[in-house]
Amino acid sequence: MNSELLATVLFLAFVALTLVITFRASRQNKTAADFYAGGRSFSGAQNGLAIGGDYMSAASFLGIAGIIALSGYDGFLYSIGFLVAWLVALLLVAELMRNSGKFTMADVLAFRMSPRPVRTAAGVSTITVSIFYLLAQMVGAGALVGLLLGVTSPAGKAWTIVGVGALMIVYVVFGGMKGTTWVQIVKAVLLMGGAALITVLVLAHYGFNLSSLLGEAASQSGKGDNFLIPGLKYGTEAQGLAGKIDLISLGLALVLGTAGLPHILIRFYTVPTAKDARKSVLWGIGIIGTFYLLTLVLGFGAAALVGSKAIAAADAAGNTAAPLLAKAIGETFLGDVGGTILLALIGAVAFATILAVVAGLTLASSSSFAHDLYAHVFKRGTATEREEVLVARVSAFVIGAVSIGLGILAQGQNVAFLVALAFAVAASGNLPAILYSLFWKRFNTAGAVSAIYGGLVSALVLVIFSPVVSGGPTSLFKTADFAWFPLSNPGIISIPLGFLCGWLGTVLSKEYNAAKYAEIEVRSLTGVGAEQATKH
């Protein structure tokens, strides 16, 4: 049996298991709270695992291991930004949002502001962020199938994207939040298990001596000790000052983006109380932190055992470093059979990862479309729950279909910047509005609308005129050059701009509702009137 076949079998087993879970969950999807928030009945630990499932995308599993394998230490910078970011969510956002919101990020804003303009703005930014993120994952799925299953024809890749998209639509349309959460939990357990197994084998191979693993990685990389310090990929000496400022900009977007990602924010609504939201973030931090420590070993292990040259030859971005390492370490311990089994295992886990993340993103965007734009903006709050959930299902179908189409069109493009862009938009557009709304008494409709559009538009414009879109060897359009903004990541400008726009919009408008602020402040800190778990 070859590893392609075994990987396919394992992956189909995952699909079968998650489909069973989804259809079981679909029988309990009765109310809007069931569909959007899984009945708010998950425990802190379950939701913590699901947070890990939503957050540990293929970009962080395959991408970070790949960056470490090719550029050494710089991949670790990514992990650290992604992890520290959770403290913003824990300390400032999770519990207060759980207490004052209902289904979407916009609920918190609409609480004390004119609902239609803020819901429109929040809906637009939620859908924008989610689609960017989705597209990157879809294209990643196409690339991965080529590398893991030997499918290299454009038609084969397109069919993979269609398959991933169709499954994601099924999870969301039938399973709602309950089904999607269970998919995340299963995926998180598989991913952690797979990564832990490979890590232990790699460490065992080096006698559990981290220093000799690092030494071997450095020498195999051909870069020597520079492999173990920052600077081979981000802010290299050749890029000069702009490169180093770009590094800071990336760091800011990573650390401030997480608490503004819509598919992460809606996770806080799936538990019964704010205390459970706190617990789920604590679990999430433990799982995600452990996972990034594992990827550090995976990345350096791949550099040491596979070698940077072989990794770069298989995929220029290093995305197959983790699967190649699985094969190499399996062969070391158990011969060819071991290599085949571990490669298949990691390949299947990588697919499960992509599938779960795209489902989470589709759910976030369809919830926002149905709850914010349809029910509150178009229907001005007159839609029934049944209508709203029906619209959410239809929009999940439409968003899924759109992202399949875009994913096929964008095949082979360098879309890694889309994830960084999603983080930058979340940090510049969503986070300022959320923080002002929870903590600033004077904040108002004009402030919220300017914060969201200001952050969203400035991040988009700066990326369009940056080297990632035009003018460079790795740009989206290699032949054109309209780049005047020197940084690849807009965060260092667009995040402060989002906060500034929010402040300016607020002070220029006279609107101010002290009674409503009293209500949201008391509710967010004490949990009075918070949405309850539904009972079945």
Binding site: G81, W86, L91, L92, L210, P230, L282, V522, L525
Partner: protein, 109 residues
């Protein structure tokens, strides 16, 4: 059911109470400085990664250098702050929040 005006006045009353102000102070005095602290600590790490590579490359034990230690310390500090916040919230915030919630729920029902 009570009217919204009535609810609103209850919330304003609670907001002005010394107990709620105490809860708010305990929450903000812990989380705000801690947020500034971990952001500064993280940015220091990013800045050193960009500008102090010789320092980051100093080897400590075997091939373990300052960069790796600094990175691992970010994990340690993140885990520690998360744990400390949970403890603070359980001991200093939850009891007051629970008490206030019961009081308001009695008044508004």
């Amino acid at each position: 059911m009570t009217t919204r005006e009535h609810d609103a006045s209850v919330y304003e009353e609670v907001q002005e109470s010394s107990e709620f102000q105490d809860l708010k102070r305990r929450f903000r005095r812990w989380t705000f400085p801690m947020t500034v602290a971990f952001l500064v600590w993280y940015l220091l790490y990013v800045v050193l990664s960009g500008w102090a590579r010789d320092f980051m490359g100093i080897k400590l034990v075997g091939n373990l250098n300052v960069a790796l230690l600094f990175g691992l310390l970010q994990f340690v500090s993140t885990f520690w702050i998360a744990w400390a916040y949970a403890r603070h919230a359980e001991k200093k915030l939850d009891p007051i929040a629970d008490k206030l919630r019961h009081e308001v729920e009695e008044k508004t029902q």
